[in-house]
Subunit: 509 residues, 2 copies
């Protein structure tokens, strides 16, 4: 058994002892009683990850017509070595995530320290006390083979355990609102049966008291509007019965900005679960489409980004057309089609597959190899080639490295014995990659580079002058623009300085 | 040699004799001289098909600041048995196409009879007289095997002949503006070389007088805004040299509504040609994506159309999400990906293919078979099954049957010996299908039906009551809704009347 949990800043937090847990249960009882006496309803958020921790503050921040908080929120995070540190950190009023959104530290401070209606705990006992549980357990897709998303699956073990914990503790009239992106069918075929099983074990009559399960998915966007993307945006919801639908609508109407963004109710949890994974599959497919056209454009002298702008003039019918790039990263587009495809067979016993979506994931996952092909057009032999990768996050001007395509790029370059340096102004640690030191000094990162890959469109890179880059590299490096970051004028300047120039979708350079 | 050309209304027009052609050349000389004396420039439109005939009127209708016509337009149509009839018909001021757009007959009448600056001819000699040729030659893709668009190709023979005719006749300073949707590379690798070849034969110095080739594609939509979709909409253009770019910009600025819809210039004809086929491939791919999700939705009780509405709330990023249906028809989405894929190898000698786009065409082309699967879920044996197909055009409230998915539906039903009747209020003749009698009396079409397929969402079908349909059929027919035409209430009424009900993407019924 681990004894401590280490935060990203290196600080160590001892896991709670049985005695401390006993004391914590008393504290939970006491707080809850006090809060109920103030007329507040009690909410638990299960899982304080990227969505859960902010969702918890949004719930705590909700006020009634007289400006008073409607809910008290217990954030629940298991006492694991990996994540327990979040509990004591949150309880000092500090967010457990870094973000460029200034609202993030503000809302944590406000709810934890000022309103004092949000507190984190690692005690399961908390679920006995609440009216609503918002489930934000992390749920990943596993893709066991690179470029073969059709073999992808979803391991529900931890998710099932989390739901079972709820079944053992919650009152029968507690609303279980699943916010996690789940394979379609999960609420109906996984969550409800587990709750029913545990209710029966507890002697609860599930005919009179059917579990109240609802589903509503978030559309969170990391970045400067992180909090608003949870609170001030369109929401879809559904429930397994009339009571859960009503409770869910009431809850979401209290905590979200439904005045500007009215709720959309769907007829079944299958429908809202499908809606979430379909909307991300739509994006993934549209990106996959662009890669083929980018390759074609590159070979016939066409700038695909200008073509895209021309097409997107058709507002309302063609403006969702996406662009090619180094590849696709982040938590959603890389996994959601896999969740859906897996659910077809695993949860519904259906034949067939979501072939278009899955092929798109494969195209997107292997897209970084195209940038390596561009490098090889100039340097057929990668061994000992000095490559500097500018940008390792998956989005511009953000430090989020989850499923970043730069990881694939770096791994495959290293596999062929290239010597790779990476730089990112927003990334301090890159936990997903071994040997992942990320240089923060761009001049050091450029030193000796024979190839410079503009992998991600961070603004800093836009302001890097060709003169500066060439001087610092000490070479005339090959410039590869993966994200249409460099203007035609800048690329011409690089050429004038003797550099070869390549770009994803940029056939005109 | 054929002697006559028969119009759709059955009227016969004798093809011109050599003597008549000689006289026509004198008329062309005389008109052109008169029009030049009035300060007008002379334009020919090559090919009076769906785009060409209306484009010709849009050019003729263009006026300068003082309200006077800028151009005189010669519409040119070869004297073929298939199409010659258009020449005499147009010259009476009548459009050679039927349309629900009231502007179509108006603009023909205005230009031919009132302004008298548009006239059709079948004489190639006309090209010697003009300042601009707008090329609107029809150019199809051939898909030799059903569901295998990867084998598709583009036969350029007739197109090349048309361009060669121009090369033999036009003045070297005449702008050749290609408006036809062509495989990327066509202007640069087909049109220009042919013109150069013919110029050289005529002793023209092609260094001093390089052919002036430009490309600008239309985004025509059949229906109530047919004329406006050509004139009042975003345009992309490009040219093979500076002079052709300038002339093209001037011409388009004179004839189109560029004040509201400014032109977009691309760097090369390859780029604008690619832009056109990519924008239609984008649509085709997004439709293909929906079929898989529709099948999934059908099997798990989900109404995909409601899911689509929920997703499309995300305006600007997700509102281009299309819907599943009987299938994809029309002239563009069914062929443009094939043109592009074929061009890669045939015009550029490149390896590789546009796999996502081509697979999407295959999914779309075979989509009507899914509706047959829905029928088979209720009637596994199609032999002698009486099926009524409501709607044979490819779009709602239109009579356009080009590449209609109803054709595939009817053909495959008949292949399995179903007895198929078809109905369409907008379609008088269905030239693409053998044994294609289309009933115009819906009650007769319904008589004896065991299956009624709502194939196309014409308004008339929306107003058909379940009582009426069931009574007229004399059965309790299976109702199949391919286009989300019938509301949940209407479908429930059919069920209450004893009908089985199915719908593409409608798992909840």
């Amino acid at each position: 058994m681990p004894k401590a949990s280490i935060a990203p800043d290196g600080k160590e937090y001892l896991l709670p002892t049985p005695e401390e847990n006993e004391k914590e249960r008393q504290i939970l009882d006491q707080i809850t009683a006090e809060q109920r006496a103030m007329g507040r309803k009690i909410v638990a958020v299960q899982g304080l990850g990227f969505v859960g921790c902010v969702m918890a503050t949004v719930v705590a921040d909700a006020v009634d017509a007289s400006g008073k908080p409607i809910y008290y929120v217990h954030g629940h995070q298991r006492a694991s070595a990996r994540s327990y540190w979040k509990v004591p950190v949150i309880n000092t009023g500090v967010p457990p995530v870094s973000s460029s959104d200034p609202e993030v530290p503000e809302i944590f401070k406000r709810c934890v320290l000022e309103k004092k209606n949000f507190r984190a705990t690692s005690e399961d006992y908390v679920y006995t006390l609440v009216d609503v549980v918002v489930v934000d357990i992390q749920l990943d897709a596993t893709k066991p083979a690179f470029g073969e998303a059709e073999k992808g699956y979803c391991d529900l073990t931890a998710f099932r355990e989390g739901i079972r914990t709820l079944g053992k503790h919650i009152r029968p009239d507690c609303l279980v609102l699943v916010e996690t992106t789940v394979p379609p069918g999960t609420c109906d075929k996984v969550v409800r049966p587990i709750l029913e099983e545990e209710f029966i074990k507890r002697g609860i009559d599930i005919i009179a008291n059917p579990p109240l399960v609802a589903h509503s998915y978030e559309r969170v966007m990391p970045g400067a509007k992180y909090v608003a993307s949870i609170r001030d945006f369109w929401r879809v919801f559904s429930g397994v019965n009339q009571k859960s639908i009503e409770l869910c609508r009431e809850f979401l109407s209290n905590v979200l900005n439904v005045k500007e963004f009215p709720l959309t109710q769907l007829d079944h949890t299958n429908a809202s679960e499908l809606s979430k994974v379909m909307e991300n599959s739509y994006r993934a497919t549209n990106i996959a489409l662009t890669l083929e056209w980018a390759k074609f454009a590159e070979q016939i002298g066409v700038d695909l980004f200008k073509v895209r702008d021309a097409i997107r003039k058709r507002q309302g019918t063609h403006d969702n057309l996406l662009r090619p790039s180094l590849g696709v990263g982040g938590y959603c587009l890389t996994k959601d089609p896999v969740l859906a495809n897996w659910a077809m067979g695993a949860l519904f016993g259906l034949e067939g597959s979501l072939d278009v979506a899955i092929r798109s994931v494969n195209i997107n996952d292997t897209m970084p190899l195209h940038t390596i092909e561009l490098i090889k057009q100039v340097y057929p032999e990668l061994r000992n080639l000095k490559v500097t990768v500018l940008g390792v996050s998956y989005l511009e001007n953000l430090g989020d490295t989850r499923h970043s395509p730069s990881k694939t790029l770096v791994e495959f370059l290293r596999k062929d014995f290239a010597i790779v340096k990476t730089h990112d102004p927003y990334v301090e640690a890159w936990p997903e990659l071994e040997e992942s030191y990320v240089e923060s000094d761009i001049d050091k990162a450029l030193e000796g580079a024979e190839v410079v890959v503009f992998a991600v469109g961070h603004d800093q890179y836009r302001h890097l002058t060709p003169d500066h880059l060439v001087t610092k590299s000490g070479n005339k490096p090959l410039i590869v623009d993966c994200s249409n970051l460099l203007s035609d004028e800048t690329l011409a300047t690089y050429k004038a300085l003797g550099c070869a120039v390549k770009g994803v979708g940029k056939g005109h350079v």
